[in-house]
């Protein structure tokens, strides 16, 4: 009864409270995380109905950091349109939903992007029978485009820059885009390259579809929280960074216990053996250890969800560590 009352009090208070998300989450007992309505590899229910994917892992990592338990998270699906109001109204504590970090979203909408968990770029997918090998040959084509996304704006810019014309066919969801592309209502489908890989993997005959080589935009996708609650922002930011740093230091879910007796100072700091970083974040001392133990480091999450051995077959590319030719880089754990 007491618990029920306190939940009630918290939920009533949540309308007014903006700061103190961490306390809200702790009191509630679970994390509310906004994800896509289903994009294989990023966030989609797997065969057993469990949410899986790179973004889903991001949500779980934060839940582990706060509760030490990867199951303490409720996934709330949001569309491209509903995601921002859902976060702004406090219906979710954070978004991990293929969302591109842009200045207007960061500043004008009142959100805070805490990092990048996938470096993406916008590409084009066409039937290989059209015989097109470059996006600059798309003059006059009909292009399926999800409305309300940054890709819509990039598309207009790309065609304007190259002085070629196109016809936009606005669609609402990825499924609608697939349907129109497969029926030939549009010649080209454009979205983030990762999304194209996901769509292509779902086609009846993936060999009939071609993803063009041009990447026409920067799409840094990352988790975001509401502006103004820096404590909560720090928790989400360092949950992501911990996974990246773990990869950099070679700490995996397999060897994390052995690494506790490592002689590398940063590993000891990361795993909570030395220092009091958990206390600074108002989390348990072993929060990062738990993330690596229960979720894995960034590489493990990547390879399991979107990597070359999955149906999406996305090479690490830009998402490799900075030491390995990519641009994935986390500030030092110190």
């Amino acid at each position: 009864m007491k618990k029920l009352l306190s939940i009630f009090a918290v939920s009533v208070f949540a309308f007014a409270a903006n700061a103190g998300t961490l306390d809200d989450v702790k009191n509630r007992g679970f994390l509310k995380c906004g994800v896509t309505t289903g994009l294989a590899g990023f966030a989609a229910p797997d065969d057993s109905g469990e949410w899986a994917g790179l973004d889903a892992d991001m949500c779980r990592a934060v839940a582990v950091a706060v509760f030490g338990d990867r199951s303490k998270v409720e996934f709330i699906t949001t569309t491209g349109k509903s995601r921002f109001p859902t976060l702004a109204s406090g219906e979710v504590d954070m978004l991990a939903r293929n969302t591109t970090w842009t200045i207007s979203r960061d500043v004008n909408l009142g959100f805070e992007f805490v990092g990048v968990n996938f470096y993406d770029g916008q590409g084009f997918m066409i039937p290989s029978s059209l015989g097109v090998s470059s996006a600059t040959e798309l003059d006059g084509a009909t292009v399926c485009i999800q409305t309300g996304t940054t890709t819509e704006l990039n598309l207009a810019d790309f065609f304007r820059l190259n002085g070629i014309s196109y016809e936009a066919l606005p669609i609402e969801t990825n499924d609608e885009g697939k349907e129109n592309l497969f029926a030939g209502r549009c010649d080209v489908y454009t979205t983030d390259a990762s999304g194209l890989s996901s769509t292509r993997a779902a086609a009846a005959d993936p060999g009939k579809w071609l993803v063009l080589p041009e990447i026409i935009s920067k799409e840094p996708l990352g988790p975001l929280v509401r502006h103004g609650d820096h404590q909560w922002g720090d928790v989400v930011r360092w949950s992501l960074n911990a996974m990246i740093i773990a990869e950099e230091l070679g700490v995996t879910s397999e060897n994390v216990d052995a690494q506790k007796s490592s002689n590398v100072p940063e590993v000891l700091r990361l795993l909570g053996v030395e220092g009091s970083y958990g206390e600074m974040l108002e989390l348990a001392p072993d929060w990062a250890y738990q993330i690596i133990k229960q979720i894995g480091n960034y590489s493990e999450s990547y390879e399991a969800n979107v990597g070359p051995d999955t149906p999406l077959e996305i090479a690490r590319g830009l998402n490799a560590l900075w030491t390995q030719g990519g641009i994935l880089y986390a500030p030092p754990f110190r």
Partner: protein, 387 residues
């Protein structure tokens, strides 16, 4: 105590008191909502204001038959494109639904057993299935048409594919304005002839063939003029180039789906309105006019329809309003109407949800009230005038 009791037993005081109370509470409610919204927006650092209207939109709208829209145009232009597209499909839908509705309504009262059954099934089926499903059904059918490279061809100039119906586009050359002026003049003189003929008939009882003379004036005269000054018009034919047809005119499947669904759905309701209107005219009227020796078509046109219209027009107005508001479902098939373009894409790109929604709602309100005003004027003009 006694005087207080008297106050409340006074009917006039009581009614004023409670009305003031209700209005006061309502105003307080509105004030509370506005305050809370403004407070929360401010606290969440969400920018408000109308400045975004003059920012460049940054995206393209392909379906814009009236304005040449480019991605460098502003969100205000997006708004205008949306309003025009909403008006276009609503206007076409209202006209077609009226014609189809009247036709079906009259058919249901005819004596042809088969036609009556078909009309009955049509009405009951369409008005009992949600409009959104009908829109999606039409769209799904239309995108199953042949692909653009395998377009169906008619007379070498019409092409039908799942990208729409392509047809030649008339190109007006210099001199065509004379033909245009001639058409306007023909319309004006037709109205003059009509009122003259009516006066003459009132005075002498003689009739004048108004319809055929108007037809001659409006169609034949401008046509003659057109050929005399050397046909100042050519056609731009569509031709398959690269991915799509170039040139000509095109009607997109998104528009066709919206138009068909809105028309067919609303016409079912209109037909019932028409049927009830005609049935409301008593049998005696028909019998009396027959006994006067009027022709059957005259009885319908001069006796039944004018009286039926008094019953038909008020509910017809609501159907026009419904159709216009229902056009906002265009978002389901990507028809670039007001809700889809300005209330959807602009809203999403700028994040100015409240501003966009207020504008969209005010626009629908304006359109609806305008329709109501005109229909009320028309309604008044057909009411029975006692002398």
């Amino acid at each position: 105590m006694r005087s207080n009791f008297n106050f409340f037993s006074d009917e006039k005081f009581r009614s004023i008191f409670f009305q003031t109370l209700v209005i006061g509470l309502f105003a307080l409610g509105i004030f509370f909502i506005v305050q809370t919204t403004a407070y929360n927006l401010e606290k969440r650092n969400i920018a408000t204001g109308w400045r975004f209207l003059s920012d460049p939109a940054g995206f393209d709208i392909s379906f814009s038959p009236f304005i040449n829209f480019k991605s460098t145009d502003t969100h205000l232009d997006v708004y205008f494109v949306g309003v025009l597209n909403t008006l276009l499909v609503s206007f076409c839908g209202c006209i077609a639904a009226t014609i189809l509705g009247f036709l079906v309504g009259i058919i249901r009262l005819s004596s042809n057993w088969l036609l009556v059954r078909v009309a009955y099934i049509y009405v009951e089926f369409t008005r009992n299935v949600p409009l959104l499903l009908q829109i999606i059904l039409w769209y799904s059918i239309l995108i199953q048409l042949p692909r653009v490279k395998q377009s169906l061809e008619f007379l070498d100039v019409f092409f039908i594919s799942n990208r729409g119906i392509y047809s030649p586009r008339p190109v007006f050359e210099t001199g065509f304005s004379y033909v245009f002026i001639a058409i306007i003049l023909a319309f004006i003189s037709s109205f003059v002839i009509r009122s003259w003929a009516k006066k003459r008939q009132d005075k002498t009882g003689k009739q004048f063939p108004v319809l055929s003379s108007a037809f001659g004036l409006i169609i034949i005269l401008p046509l003659l003029l057109f050929f005399i000054i050397g046909s100042p018009m050519s056609f731009d034919y569509p031709a398959l180039k690269g991915f799509n047809f170039k040139g000509g005119m095109v009607i997109r499947p998104e528009f066709i789906a919206m138009f068909l669904a809105l028309t067919i759905y609303t016409a079912a309701f209109i037909s019932e309105t028409v049927r009830s209107g005609i049935l409301s005219v008593t049998k005696g009227q028909r019998e009396a006019s027959a006994s006067l020796g009027l022709k059957k078509s005259w009885i319908m046109r001069l006796i039944i329809i004018p009286q039926a219209l008094r019953v038909i027009v008020p509910p017809l107005t609501s159907q026009y309003l419904n159709l216009t508001k229902n056009s906002s479902l265009g978002i389901a098939v990507g028809y670039a109407d007001l809700v889809h373009g300005f209330g959807g894409i602009s809203l999403n790109q700028t994040g100015q949800a409240i501003e966009c929604m207020v504008i969209v709602m005010a626009t629908y309100l304006t359109i609806s009230l305008t329709i109501s005003v005109f229909m009320n004027i028309y309604n008044r003009s057909i009411q029975f005038k006692e002398k």
